[in-house]
Structures are given as C-alpha cells and as structure tokens.
C-alpha cells in the first residue's frame, strides 16, 4: 500500500489483509520524516514508542483482533496537546523540556484505538499566529514549496539545489500537522482551531481540515488559547478519513464540562449523488478586501458546480462579519491574558534565575518564557479586562459575538443547509514576504474568513479545491449547522469528488514509496 493511500478505503484494508504490517508502515513514515526534516514539521519524533506501539498493533492483527480502523495507523499530534511522558512545548521557551504527566482525552482515545503516535508537530507559539512562523523551533515549510507543481511554475532564482529562498509558509497555527499530513509522513494529524488554525494551514497545504462544532470533542488536555472558541482540529488527506477520525474522537467527556451530554453516533459518509435537495448559501461579506481574483474565481466556479448539479445556490448576508476581527481581538486577548497567568515559573516550566523577589521572578520568567506575540496579547487582554474598560470592551465584544452568531442562525433558519466560502485570501505566501508584516497584522488579515465560525461555535471544513497559478493549493470552506457534521462532511465529500484535487508530487515521497506512483487526474479547475 502506498503512503498516499486513503486511510479508510485502502490502508486499513491492507493492514487487515496483511499486505502491509503496522511496523512497516511506521518505519516508512519515520524514514520519510527524517528525509523531510527540512520542512521542520515535527518538534519531537517519538521513534521508540512509535515502533513499540506498531509492534503491539501487529500482534493484535496477527491474532485477528485489531482494535478498530485506526489500529496501527501512524498519526501526529500538534504540540499543544498533552502527551504523557512526552515533551509538550507549545513551541515556547516557557514549556521547553516540560514532560506532560497525562494524555489529552483525544490523544488517549487515539491510543486506545491502537493508533501509532509518531511525534508532536510544530506550531506558532501557544497557537498564536496564522503562518506557523513564530514558534521557538523555527518556521514550518509548506511541502508544496518542494513539489514538482510549484517548481514548474516558479521562476528559478538560482540553479542550485538550495532549498532556502523561495519556500512558502504552511499557514497556521497548526502548520506542522498540516505539513505532516501533506507530505505523507502520517495518515492523519490533530491540530487545534481557535480562529482558523486548522482550516488555514489545511488550505495552504492542500489537505482536508475539519473544525468540529464546539462542545463535540473534548478539550481536556489541549493547552488553551481561547477556552470559549478552541476546538481540537482534524487534518487528513480526504474527507472520508476526517469522518473516521471524528467518529473516534467525538463524544461527552466528564473531564470537560463544555462537552455536550448527548450520545454521539459515529457515521460513515454516504456517496451523495443527488444534490438537488441541497441549498448552498454564498455569504456576500466573504468577498473580503484582499481576496485574490484567483480565489474569487474558484469560489464562483464552485458555486456554479453546485448549481449545475441541481442544487439551490443563493446569495446570503452575514451583516456583522465586518466586526468580527475587532470582536475576536478583544475576546481572544482577554482569555489569553487569563490563561497565561498560570505560567509563573513556580510549579512547572521555565523559571528564571532572577531571585530578588517573587514578583521579579515572575516578571523575568514571563519575559524570558514568552515571545513578543504572546506578551502583546497578554497586555492587550489585561487592558480590556480592567474594571474601567470591562463594559466598554469585553461586554461589548460579547454582545457583538452574539450578533455574529445569530447572523448564522438566521441564515440557516431561512432554509440554507451549508455555506460555501473561501478559506484564505490567497495561496501561500513566500516566507520572506509573509514576515514583512507582524503577527498581529497577518492574523487580522488571514483570520477574517475563518474566525466567525469559531465565534458561533459552528462546524467548518476546508476542502482542497485546485492549484493556483503558482502551482500552490487553494481550498474552499464549507460551514454547517451546529452538530450537523454528517451533513457537512457529506457535502464536502461530494465536492471533493467533483474537483479531483491533484496529488502532491514530492521527490522524497517518490523515493520512499514502494508502491506505484499514481498519477491522479487534476480536475478541470486547474
């Protein structure tokens, strides 16, 4: 079986039938991680424990008793999830060397089902950012920077094999997870999504990125950014695989009081053929300033695709969209200021050598432990939470948040089933260009299309759509009703089938893949 194979449809079967063993799969992934080290997608690679887990899985397959579809499947986890006995850094000096004493619920669930944990992936420090460029372990490189498709389209700056100059960002903040999935080093990865941190890198790296409904998947063990908006995110190479992961992770967790009590029933996605009963909404406000003409064109083509297939496609309005950036800024920074208060160097993590007093130790620890982005947000957040500012900013922002959420409610009640929007404003920018602007500016620009779904707690998914002029992935986003993941993913799967997004052609993968290198036909989009 090829590493490119879809989990559900191919690899699982291959494992069951013994055509490939969990150990082989694990070894190939580990080797590929090594040869794609320049991507900087992983912070920690847990080679020993992964091989051990693979061995155990193999035993189970031999006995004919695999734990389920995920048994023996190599996965990666963003480094802001707690993993017992394994370093969890959040790409920050504050937690360098911090060994988690417990597993996040989602990690435990994956391990309980026999998944093989390959390692912890890179991110923006404490998940703050939209490029995965601001972590202490350096930026993540988008694997597409080294793809045949991108190299063909880009003007060669030099003849050497120098990988430095033109590589593009992976998006963020779950860039490491997106890059890991995109470069075939794992079959699925966990990310997190607070303002678009799973969907954005998914779009840039050409993978499926699912943000589930808030309250569906447990946040216990996910080091929080914004407790009222964070969700664990799922990154896979196809929509079916996302449904598999969702099925294994969703459900009430008594350790997380914000998860819903209702039973969750895992589902298999039907192969939708008839979309005539579907109503697709196109929110006009998502034609945001800065949206590239290219993406606008893809968006328009996608709408036509649905219309031509018989679906009802209507323009809708989400009038408070334009307030979402400032609203998000206030609420996000306020919660950040609060959540980061625990990092004082006393109980765990980095502790400064400054010992003159407790206060000076706190101040030095936090100055040394946090980067500018984190410190900036803490200062902003504390400002908004001051007694004299609380009503003016925090409470006001809460009210605006409700308005943003009710925009969606109105649209869904009017008969629209799914919303179709772009995921990003453009394809991935070159790193040198991206860092011209600071983190806050970039986040404010890039989050506009994704953050409203977090404010409203709605499920949303990025589906890779086509390649841009530069040969880089472009994705489109579907937003669904609360807890209607099945409908959302069914539509996403249909769309995925229509567009036939091309497989990335990476030299490294070619070398590692013993299977037939399958050329997939590009859709009429590119």
């Amino acid at each position: 079986a090829a590493l490119k194979d879809a989990l559900r449809s191919q690899v699982s079967a291959a494992l069951k039938e013994g055509r490939v063993t969990p150990t082989e799969l694990c070894q190939r992934c580990l080797a590929l991680i090594k040869s794609t080290k320049f991507l900087n997608a992983y912070i920690t690679v847990t080679e020993e424990t992964a091989l051990k887990q693979a061995e155990e899985s193999e035993e189970r397959y031999k006995r004919g008793q695999p734990l389920g579809i995920l048994d023996g499947i190599p996965i990666a986890v963003k480094d802001n999830f707690n993993t017992a006995g394994i370093e969890t850094t959040c790409a920050s000096n504050m937690l360098k060397g911090y060994i988690s004493p417990y597993n996040a619920t989602v990690v435990q669930k994956l391990l309980d089902q026999g998944a093989v944990l390959l390692g912890k992936t890179n991110l923006d420090e404490f998940a703050m950012g939209s490029g995965s460029t601001d972590g202490v372990f350096g930026p993540v490189r988008n694997p597409w920077s080294y793809s045949k498709q991108y190299k063909e389209k880009s003007i060669p700056k030099s003849h050497s094999e120098d990988k430095e100059p033109d590589w593009v960002i992976s998006g963020g903040s779950s860039g490491g997870s997106a890059a890991a999935v995109s470069s075939f080093t794992c079959f699925a990865a966990l990310g997190s999504d607070t303002g678009g941190s799973t969907r954005n890198p998914a779009a840039h790296c050409g993978v499926v990125g699912l943000k589930p409904t808030y309250g569906l998947i447990s946040r216990h063990g996910l080091i929080p950014l914004v407790n009222s908006m964070d969700v664990p995110g799922i990154l896979t190479r196809c929509v079916d695989d996302a449904a598999v992961l969702l099925g294994s992770l969703a459900g009430h967790d008594p350790k997380d009081s914000t998860t819903i009590q209702d039973d969750f029933k895992p589902f298999e996605l039907p192969n939708l053929t008839d979309v005539s009963k579907l109503s697709i909404g196109i929110p006009k406000e998502y034609h945001a300033p800065g949206l590239s003409s290219e993406i606008l064109a893809f968006w328009s083509k996608a709408a036509d695709l649905f219309k031509n297939a018989g679906a009802k496609v209507v323009e809708v309005s989400l009038p408070h969209t334009r307030y979402s950036i400032v609203c998000y800024h206030v609420l996000c920074t306020a919660e950040v200021a609060s959540n980061m208060a625990r990092f004082d160097g006393l109980e765990y993590g980095h502790r400064s050598d400054v010992k003159d007093s407790t206060e000076s130790m706190y101040a030095a620890t936090r100055r040394e432990g946090f980067n500018d982005v984190v410190r900036g947000r803490i200062l902003s957040g504390n400002y908004f939470l001051l007694k004299q500012n609380y009503e003016k900013y925090f409470v006001k922002a809460q009210k605006v948040r409700r308005l943003i959420a009710s925009d969606f409610g109105k649209v869904f009640r009017s008969g629209v089933d799914i919303l179709l929007t772009p995921t990003t404003l453009s394809d991935a920018a070159p790193y040198t260009e991206f860092i011209q602007e600071d983190n806050r500016t970039r986040s404010a620009q890039d989050d506009i299309l994704t953050q409203a779904a977090n404010m409203a707690g709605l499920p949303a998914i990025n589906v890779p759509t086509a390649l841009s002029e530069r040969g880089l992935p472009v994705g489109l986003q579907f937003i669904g009703r609360s807890f209607q993941e099945k409908q959302l993913l069914t539509v996403a799967k249909w769309f995925e089938k229509q567009v036939q997004f091309p497989v990335i052609q990476l030299e490294e993968v070619k070398r590692h893949d013993s299977g037939v290198f399958q050329q997939q036909k590009s859709a009429s989009f590119s």
């Binding site: 999830f81 707690n82 969890t88 959040c90 937690l95 988690s100 004493p101 417990y102 996040a104 946040r219 216990h220 063990g221 996910l222 080091i223 929080p224 914004v226 407790n227 009222s228 008594p254 350790k255 997380d256 009081s257 914000t258 306020a334 919660e335 200021a337 609060s338 208060a341 625990r342 990092f343 004082d344 006393l346 109980e347 765990y348 407790t358 206060e359 706190y362 504390n382 939470l385 001051l386 007694k387 609380y390 925090f394």
Partner: protein, 483 residues
C-alpha cells in the same frame, strides 16, 4: 485586666484606655453604666450602639459587617477529585488541576453545591436557580493558576437572614434576639498556604488547600459591636455544624472571619470602612472589632480621616495595624469562567419529567431533608424540659460537643444541675437570706433607688447557680421589700 489594658495601651498608643475613660463619662439614653474590665462599646435596647465623642459633640454609631469564609465539608475539592484533609503532608493532596498544569479543566463537585444550597436554605436565602462562575485574577504564590474561580456576578444564594441571641448584660438575665441580613453566599476556591521563611528569604508553598471548596457568606453591616458579631458567628457555626455543610472550626481554618468596620454620626451617611483580617477566634473577633471602632472614633475625633484600608489584628497587642499595601487598589480583572457552564438548579416545579434527583440538584428535595436548626432545637428544649432559654444555648453547644455519647438532653441537664429551681419555698428562703445580708442595699432601694434591686437579683442568681427565673426573683424581692 488593668495590666492587659496597660499593655494594650502601650502597644497601641494609649487609645484603648482613653476610649474607655471617655465612654465611662457618657450618660446617653438607654446606655448602662460602663462596667470596668470588658467592653468599650455597649449596644442599647434599640440595637444601635451609642458611643461617646468628646463631650458636647454628636454620638458615633459603629457599623459592623462580616465576610465569612467557611470551608465546605466534602471528600474532594470544589473542582477536582483530590482529597480534602487537614494536616496532611505538604503537597500530598494536589491534582494536576490544583497545580494548574496546562490543559486541565474544572469539574464542579456536586456535594459542594448541595452544601451551599443547604446553607442558603437554613439562612432563609433565595436560591438562584441559575448562578455563574467567574475568574478573579491576581498573582500570588499560593494561587497556581493566577486566578481564583469564584461567583462574582451571580452567586448561588442571596438575601437571607440569620437570627442570633444576645445577653443584654453580663449576668445572662435578659436575652434579646437580633437579626443580621445575609447579602449572599457564593462558592469559590480556597488558596494554598504560604509559609514565609525570612531567614532564608524564601517562601514555602503547600497546595493541599488549593482548590478546596469555600462558601463565602457576606453579612450586611447590621451589627454594631464585637459582641453582636461574635454572637452572630457563634450561631452561624452551630448552624453549619448542624447541617454538616462545614465543620466551621476556626482553629483549623475551616471558618475565617473578616470584619468591615466604620463609624458615623446619626443622620449622616456611613463612614469610610476598614477591613480587619487575621482574626483567629471568636473572642479575638469581638476584641478586634471593638478596638477598631474605638480607633476610628478617636481618629475622627482628633480631626483625622479613616482610610479605606485593610488592617490586620494583632492578638498579642490587642490592636489593628495597617497591612502592607504595595500596589494600591487591586483590579481583579473579573472575567466569566469559560470552562464552566451556568449552574442550573431545579425545584419541584421546574424539574423536567425525565430527571430524578440523582441527575440534578432539586432545591425542594434538599429543603425537605434539612435537619432541625439550632434555634428550633432550643425552643423544643425549653418547651419540653422547662429549662431557661440561656441554658438551652449551653446545652446545644454541649450536645454538639458530646454528639454520639448517647446521653439525652434531660440526662445532661440533670447531671449538670441545669434545670430551673422549681421549689418556690426554697427560692423565697434564698431571697430572704440575700435581703438579710445586704442591709445597705435594702435601705437604698427603700429610699427610692430601684436600680440597686438588680444587685440583689444578681446575688440570688449566684446563690442558685443561675437556676432561678429572674422575673420571678424580682417579684419575690419586691414583695418582701414592700412588706
């Protein structure tokens, strides 16, 4: 007594003694002669204390409110599963959540909510069917998360009242019932403990207590002196112990009381208040409050001002001293706790059909199962066994102390000779004996000084070891004296 007063005077600038001297000269309406040795302030029958200012100036009305933290008696902490236990080895009862390890989340302890509901009901509060949790931020070594989870916006119970009884004088011959309003009861986390080791310039932190459930009870400023506050707190202790919602032992830190004290002239708005902390017993509570009242009166009397500050009670010196306040007023940057949904409680009416009491908390179900409160128990004792109301207080405390020893109240009463003297003849004889032994007093009474009768009543009480009904004694003495 004098020695103590002198010490106190020396330590606190002589304020204590001066205040007492000033008070002794004030003849004000309804006040009683100041008896040397005890209180600096006496509350009159109308309930408001009237203390002296410089002669000729308007009187001062002291106003006392209390902020009480009662540790909830539960097996585990308010938001985590670690055990609650007094005097365990340091940092042996600390869960990941208690230590604020990143990624941990609070999970509300049902028993703590029930304890708060019971307490609210016992104190006649309105129980809020929807209450909210908030974060209160400040940096301190014993607060690992950098914030405390509390209920600032909407607490679990509001608008209650506590009735307590007070002896008008030292002789326990007249009891009066007072009421203090309960502003609210809120659930919140306790902090850990810091031990400052100044010799090594370090602080040792023990997180065993971090996260233990607390009920914060706010008593409105309806009290006027240390004695009232002490009586109110004693009654609260009994109630909490009867309910089992808190063991309320001050010495073990299960009950902590801070006092808010201010003074003002009648008809004027309330004065600036100070908060008095570091009070370790009910006795010190009364002392601290009375000292603070006098300090404020003297300060204002001298033309000074009262700062809205926090003061610590120094039990050795018997005075309050300002606490070090480095940063000025603290802004706690309150924010809703995003990891806890609103706390919803039900009653018989609002309970959804498909839920039973094990799935949710039903206020009415709890109400039906409340034990008899101390005031009810005392009434029953007086009714059934004919003992004096004052003795029912002692008895109840004894009963609480001897819980489980199997003695009935009647047995205990008889054992300690607490029952009323029923033999009228014996009482008459004792009255006669007292009259015979106090010639001067008898002459004074016959000359028109009725107040001296009280002294005779007191002597009879002494002879009967407090087992005589003062009203009856008065009647008997008056009868004999008019013969």
């Amino acid at each position: 007594m004098a020695a103590v007063a002198a010490m106190a005077a020396a330590g606190c600038g002589g304020v204590w003694r001066q205040a007492r001297q000033r008070f002794a000269r004030w003849p004000g309406p309804g006040s009683r002669p100041f008896s040397r040795g005890h209180r600096a302030v006496v509350c009159n029958a109308r309930g408001g204390a009237v203390s002296a200012g410089k002669s000729g100036l308007a009187p001062w009305i002291p106003v006392v409110g209390l902020e009480i933290h009662a540790q909830i008696s539960s097996n585990s902490k308010l938001f985590s599963g670690s055990q609650v236990q007094f005097a365990a080895p340091p940092n042996s009862l600390v869960s990941f959540f208690d230590a604020s390890l990143p990624g941990t989340l609070p999970v509300l302890n049902r028993r703590c909510v029930e304890a708060a509901v019971m307490t609210g009901l016992a104190l006649n509060c309105h129980i809020n069917k929807k209450s909210l949790f908030d974060r209160k931020h400040y940096f301190y070594a014993d607060l690992p998360a950098g914030y405390q989870i509390t209920q600032q916006r909407v607490p679990i119970a509001v608008n209650g009242s506590l009735s307590y009884s007070l002896c008008i004088d030292n002789k326990m011959s007249q009891m009066v019932t007072k009421t203090v309003r309960i502003k609210q009861i809120q659930l919140e986390q306790d902090s850990g403990k810091s031990l400052h080791d100044d010799t090594r310039s370090q602080t040792l932190v023990d997180l065993n207590r971090a996260g233990v459930g607390l009920m914060e009870l706010v008593m409105e400023p309806d009290m006027c002196c240390g004695e009232e506050a002490a009586a109110a707190v004693r009654e609260l202790q009994l109630i909490l112990q009867t309910l089992g919602s808190s063991q309320a032992v001050m010495a073990e830190g299960q009950l902590r009381v801070d006092a808010n004290v201010s003074v003002h002239h009648p008809g004027e708005p309330y004065g600036v208040r100070t908060e008095v902390k570091n009070i370790n017993s009910i006795r010190f509570l009364a002392k601290a409050i009375d000292y603070e009242i006098q300090r404020q009166i003297q300060e204002l009397g001298n033309g000074g001002t009262i700062l809205n500050e926090t003061r610590a009670f120094d039990s050795k010196l018997g005075c309050t001293i300002p606490m070090r306040d480095k940063e000025g007023k603290q802004d706690y940057r309150f924010m809703p706790e995003p990891n806890l949904p609103p706390l919803i409680l039900y009653d018989a009416k609002s309970l959804p059909a498909n839920m039973n009491h094990q799935q949710v908390i039903n206020i009415d179900w709890i109400h039906e199962r409340l034990p008899d409160l101390p005031s009810v128990k005392r009434e029953k004792l007086v009714e059934q066994y004919g003992i004096l109301p004052e003795h029912s207080f002692t008895l109840l405390v004894l009963a609480e102390l001897w819980k489980g020893e199997g003695k009935t109240p009647l047995e205990t009463v008889k054992e300690h000779k607490l029952e009323l003297l029923q033999d009228l003849k014996e009482l008459e004889q004792i009255c006669q004996a007292v009259i015979d032994g106090q010639e001067n007093e008898v002459l004074a009474i016959k000359a028109g000084n009725r107040k001296v009768l009280n002294k005779l009543i007191g002597l009879v009480q002494k002879k009967t070891q407090g087992r005589s009904n003062p009203v009856l004694v008065k009647q008997l003495l008056e009868k004999k004296l008019s013969e």
